[in-house]
Symmetry: C2
Subunit: 155 residues, 2 copies
DNA sequence: CACTGTTTAATTGTGTACAACTGAAAATCC
DNA sequence: GGATTTTCAGTTGTACACAATTAAACAGTG
């Protein structure tokens, strides 16, 4: 195959990063009508996933899992709290830490969420094994990006 | 709250959408220090890519290319304008339309941007052919997500 | 031509993202 | 034990995203 030697490679359609950015937003948009019925945004749903999976979780641990900082999580958690889905309390063992816990309503919401991932996966029309491959590749890239960012800091 | 082992697929790590969301943010973060030197954010860089490639472009066409609406583009373009990189003017042929054009400074910035995509791709450490595969898979998913969203509207 | 409906940008309001900073609490060092 | 440093959550400010609305301009029809 002949390859046109583009001096620049500033072609939008060739860029993986744009494909990633567009795909992420398109998939989030697919979640939106479903999550609307639960009264959740997509990032709020991610926080609920962690809480459903692990129970009581500190803001710090949520941030590590979701790769979000307190600047994003603090207001988000406030909204979940005023929606009656979670409570927040300082950890008596370490007063710096704030532990987020599910309320009964937050726990009940889990049942309504069970079908969501499969429904979304099917809506894409991409076979499950291909999605799993994609997910693994994305993880590799995410790790590499984090590693590259670390590198720059230490120079 | 007590937690129950999940029979369901509400596992964060299994979700393609989260992998996508995390990867998109991680890659954007990799662009950030590079784009900072050009005085651009990542979405602004995307707009500039389109303008470098196609020249004068309407807000509508930018929105179609980047899958962004005027609610995002209008303030973004204002910032590019006040940075002296673009100008905006109503199309005399169709007064509804606003055409965005590069200034001389905006055009010059292109040279400084030429090396960016390759540098980012290399920083991920993922081989180019694998990245191309990934990009194609992402496009398929994006298209499927848009199609699925369309479906819902017509029901 | 008037009427209807559509297209296009812009605006408003809500909710992320993220950098930079603050203050309190804990860990570390001497 | 006291000083220094680090950790943690929250706040502030900037910049997206996106739904919903508005207003102007255009297109098509009777």
């Amino acid at each position: 195959m002949t390859r046109v030697p583009d001096e620049t490679d500033l072609d939008l359609r060739k860029q993986v990063c744009f494909a990633l950015y567009a795909a992420s937003r398109a998939l989030t948009a697919l979640y939106r009508p479903v999550l609307d019925r639960l009264g959740l945004t997509y990032p709020q749903y991610l926080v609920m996933l962690v809480l459903w999976e692990r129970g009581d979780t500190s803001v710090k641990a949520l941030g590590t899992s979701l790769e979000l900082d307190s600047g994003t999580l603090s207001p988000l958690l406030k909204r979940l709290e005023s929606a009656g889905l979670v409570t927040r309390a300082r950890d008596p063992r370490d007063e710096r830490s704030v532990v987020v816990s599910l309320t009964a309503a937050g726990d009940r919401l889990r049942e309504q969420a069970t079908g969501i991932p499969r429904a979304i996966a099917e809506a894409t029309g991409v076979p499950a094994d291909k999605l799993a491959d994609l997910r693994d590749t994305l993880r590799i890239i995410t790790q590499a990006a984090h590693a590259a960012a670390e590198d720059k800091e230490t120079t």
